[in-house]
């Protein structure tokens, strides 16, 4: 079993050990600034202080879709270029993406309680994110099911790409379904016409979320590489014992 397969990941590991502490510190600082700004931002004249949930909700919604895009690029890397780091990147991103999607759903539901008087409405955006969450869980289930990491990576890559094709269709169909069933009386969350005093903290929070994702992703990739090395060593051990 050639350890040399992981020659490239070895360089990556040294890079991670150098970059990761800085990323983590940057994420903490960005969160500190972003949350402070969010606290100081004016309340909405309609929604009151509950509008502050937006600063947690909207960046997680962006990331929930952004991470699928990251996974799709990793999937192309796995299937087309067969890059050894690509399948590690895809596998490491899936649970993080599911976590951010769940944060988006939970904050959205908490925000919805004072707005709509109920924790869940089948709002078009929330519903799309919910379907996205189910798709993340499908990819994770696929990784769980396959014993052999490289095959699991290739199959998950196919599912990820099919999902990437399907996501715009889901978005379109859910929007269409929503307008059919609920005329536009619903308050739209994270509306694009947003006051600059609210936008600045929101962008800062988005930067913080992104840094957090980058740090978590690199750490998860490092763990996955180490996990595979342990697996390889065990296989070698079994082979030696067998011969």
């Amino acid at each position: 079993m050639p350890i040399s397969d992981f020659a490239n990941p070895s360089k990556f590991l040294t890079l991670v050990s150098r970059v990761l502490p800085w990323l983590a510190v940057a994420a903490v600082i960005a969160f500190a600034i972003g949350l402070t700004q969010a606290m100081q931002a004016p309340d909405d004249y309609q929604q009151g202080a509950t509008v502050k949930i937006m600063y947690l909700h909207v960046p997680s919604a962006w990331l929930s879709m952004g991470i699928w895009a990251v996974m799709s690029i990793a999937a192309l890397g796995t299937l087309v270029w067969r890059h050894p780091l690509a399948d590690v990147a895809g596998k490491a991103a899936a649970p993080i993406g599911a976590a951010f999607t769940l944060i988006c759903l939970i904050t959205g539901s908490l925000w919805g309680r004072p707005m709509w008087g109920t924790y869940w409405v089948w709002d078009a955006r929330l519903t799309s994110v919910f379907v996205l969450f189910l798709m993340y869980l499908g990819v994770i289930a696929l990784y769980w099911t396959a014993e052999e990491p490289s095959r699991a990576a290739r199959l998950a890559a196919i599912l990820t790409l099919v999902g990437a094709i399907n996501l715009p269709v889901v978005k379109f169909s859910v929007d269409w379904w929503n307008t059919l069933h609920q005329p536009a009386s619903v308050i739209r969350m994270g509306a694009p016409t947003i006051d600059p005093s609210l936008l600045k903290p929101l962008l800062m929070m988005a930067v913080a979320y992104f840094l957090l994702f980058a740090a978590l992703h690199l750490a998860a990739m490092r763990n996955e590489i180490l996990r595979r090395r342990v697996r390889t060593l065990r296989l070698m051990q079994a082979n030696e014992a067998a011969s």
Partner: protein
């Protein structure tokens, strides 16, 4: 019992028309990895038209794996498979018959329908079906559902594909398994005819299968030497 009628001869004439003398299957330092483990490495051989190669080795040495790899059903980890002659635009697997441990039979279809499907799938003429069934002494069972067949009869039906559809390379995994003496003799005759017609045979086997002058390729020796 062995049918060597007109259909069979037509097959062989067709085969000679394929520049049979030029056909050559080679393997150069072939390696296969499964589940992160190397099954075998450094397997090299050359088989020319009219030659048979018997792949031997202990259990788990990778005999079946080698045949599946040649058939294109497993990815090659290292080395290469070379194929000269035959149809240039087709892979080895597309010009080979593979008879593995599984018989690829549908119990719900009759014996004839099972063979007829594979004949149609491979684009061969349906006229060869009855001759193929006769060659493996299955002509009396043609209308019986395959579910009623014994293990040996199922095996013979799987082998009937070799006769019904003409392909120059035969990849046979333990072809004599479950066959009685008569059926083994019939199979040996089919293999000799195939070789005489300019075909190639690579068979994984534990014992002799009735071909004179077949060369032997022993794999798994490197792992054995390490023990």
């Amino acid at each position: 019992m062995v049918h060597t009628g007109g259909a069979m001869r037509r097959r062989m004439d067709h085969m000679r028309g394929w520049r049979a003398q030029l056909m050559r299957l080679t393997s150069d330092n072939l390696a296969c990895r499964r589940g992160g483990r190397m099954v075998f490495t450094g397997v090299s051989f050359a088989v020319a038209a009219g030659e048979a190669l018997l792949v031997t080795g202990r259990n788990g040495a990778g005999k079946s794996t080698l045949l599946r790899l040649l058939a294109g059903l497993l990815p090659v980890a290292a080395g290469r498979v070379g194929w000269d002659g035959g149809a240039p635009d087709q892979s080895v697997g597309e010009q080979a018959h593979y008879v593995g441990h599984l018989d690829a039979l549908k119990p719900g279809l009759s014996v004839r329908d099972n063979l007829a499907f594979w004949t149609a799938w491979n684009g061969a003429q349906a006229e060869g079906i009855d001759a193929a069934l006769a060659a493996l002494a299955l002509d009396g069972l043609a209308d019986l559902p395959a579910a009623y067949l014994s293990a040996g009869q199922r095996r013979r039906l799987a082998l009937a594909r070799l006769v019904a559809v003409h392909r120059p390379i035969w990849l046979l995994d333990e072809p004599t398994a479950a066959l009685d003496v008569t059926a083994q003799a019939a199979l040996a005759q089919l293999m000799r005819d195939h070789l005489a017609g300019g075909g190639l045979i690579i068979a994984a086997t534990h014992g002799p299968i009735g071909i004179d002058g077949a060369r032997e390729l022993r794999i798994g020796a490197t792992i054995g030497a390490a023990a």
